[in-house]
Symmetry: C2
Subunit: 312 residues, 2 copies
């Protein structure tokens, strides 16, 4: 089983509007709602891959109930620790006339220290039976910045490898707790080293510097250029057969899912990265984060190039 | 007590965004949610006036639960008949930079015939103890166009006068069932007579024609120009002291509340109209439908002009 921690889930609402009137009343021609937030995207991707998954999340209010109910309908097992605040919504408007996509992301609810502690207790009970854990997404207000670090340590004490996808202080402190893999994107990596990363050499140097702080491997996502990985088995670059424009959030979450899947299955690094790039690229082409077309994924697997760059 | 029927309530969500990026990701600086839909605006206005109110509505899913919970918090008693569909949301984005207001109104859920019948049974039980009923807002898909007519007849059988605020077929059939008051706006009245209504004489003629089909009185709302009423006690015009730009939906619902309040209190037509215009004008000035500043209302009461135009 792979446990996926999602501290700040969302109810994602999408409105299709034939031609948006930006100063009037619009009647969407279609309304889609689905469970969202990075961790839930990872969990849904793992579920489509056929992995045994358990989501551990914080959820509150009627929106939290809606997220839990939608996730159950999608066949993703989850245990949500109730919080006093109301789980956030995101509203995305897709303008049929211009193609413009406008998103409104509500701030997440504050979680109390007791609420996070209750989740951590449930996590500790669940983690013993896991092949890997994924810690993904921003920390809600009120949850200490070292919370991912604590969850990484709990997993390590049970002998379970962790994949961490976070940013800022949560990433810095979490990485120092020695997870198996951290998966920053270019901006997150630049944020850690405190300067923009212009070329691949700069990304590689930053990834090596981050790896020196604790994690077993650093896998940097480079958008359409694929992945750059600095691992215990050397450095690697993995690239899709062709650039695919699309949904960057969905792509990053699919890469995290692919890495966790490969980690749990004991795949070697080249195969792990091949699956991660194929999944990320297939997810970028899908209109909705957390989904992909299995046929796209299978076709991409054959076209991904993976090459070793040198010693880690 | 005044019963207010709301067949198509909504959860109104408002995002304040400092400067909207129409092709990017926005993080609202403030999120407000409140129970919405015309009937609930009427009920909240009556509650602020101190009236004893009972909302009878249809609600479903987690959004229906959110509406019921928010209404209870606002101190408005309600009994919702559960439906299988999910109650709709409206999302309104207020752009701090341009002042533009963009609304996205989800379609209402379909209600089954059995669901409306269950509401009608509850309504029949409640209506005996009422001084007036208000039937306000659009019918959800699946509810027959003559449903307001049936509810008007049920009230009449119990000797209770009804105020009807609807449009199209629901208004036409409901008016023929002889409610005490129908309250169309200019567009709804024009829709009934099948042609635009250019001047006040045309509105007056259309109101007389509508009154001839059954209702005791027709009160047409004319925006900043106030009200034109064709009643059993002659024709009247009532106007606010000065034009107030603002929230037209809130204004119309406040007028309906004022008319029901005056009807229940047995006020003569000139006083009924004075209260309705003052409430509508105070509500137009308020940022949120269903609310008004009592001080505005009190001040406006003294400034409203009401004059009889001739025999009804």
């Amino acid at each position: 089983m792979i446990a996926v921690v999602c501290l700040n889930p969302a109810l994602d609402i999408t409105y299709q509007v034939p031609a948006v009137d930006w100063s009037g009343v619009n009647r969407p021609s279609a309304v889609h709602t689905r469970p969202g937030g990075k961790g839930l995207n990872v969990a849904r991707t793992l579920r489509i891959l056929g992995a045994d998954v358990l989501v551990l999340g914080l959820a509150g209010g009627v929106t939290g109930a809606a997220v839990a109910s939608a996730l159950a309908q999608a066949g993703v097992p989850a245990t949500f620790t109730p919080i006093g605040g109301e789980t956030r919504r995101t509203v995305t408007v897709v303008d049929g006339a211009s193609g413009a996509v406008t998103a409104f992301n509500e701030p997440g609810p504050r979680a109390g220290p007791g609420e996070f502690t209750e989740l951590a207790v449930r996590y500790e009970k669940a983690v013993g039976g896991c092949a890997a854990v994924v810690l993904s997404g921003s920390l809600p207000p009120g949850v200490p910045a070292d919370s991912y670090a604590r969850l990484v340590e709990t997993a390590a004490a049970a002998g379970v490898p962790a994949v961490l996808d976070a940013h800022g202080e949560a990433l810095r402190l979490g990485a120092a707790a020695r997870p198996a893999i951290v998966k920053p994107n270019r901006a997150e990596l630049a944020g850690l080293v405190g300067q923009p990363l212009a070329g691949r050499a700069a990304v590689s140097a930053a990834a090596r510097a981050l790896r020196a702080t604790g994690p077993g491997a650093v896998v940097a996502t480079l958008g359409a250029d694929g992945l750059l990985a600095v691992t215990e088995d050397g450095s690697w670059v993995a690239a899709p057969p062709a650039a695919v424009a699309g949904n960057a959030t969905g792509a990053g979450d699919a890469v995290a899912a692919g890495l966790a899947y490969g980690l749990a299955a004991g795949l070697p690094w080249d195969e792990r990265l091949r699956h991660a790039v194929a999944l990320g690229t297939a997810a970028a082409a899908a209109p909705v984060a957390g989904e992909f077309r299995p046929a796209d994924y299978q076709q991409l697997l054959a076209g991904v190039t993976v090459r070793r760059e040198g010693a880690g």
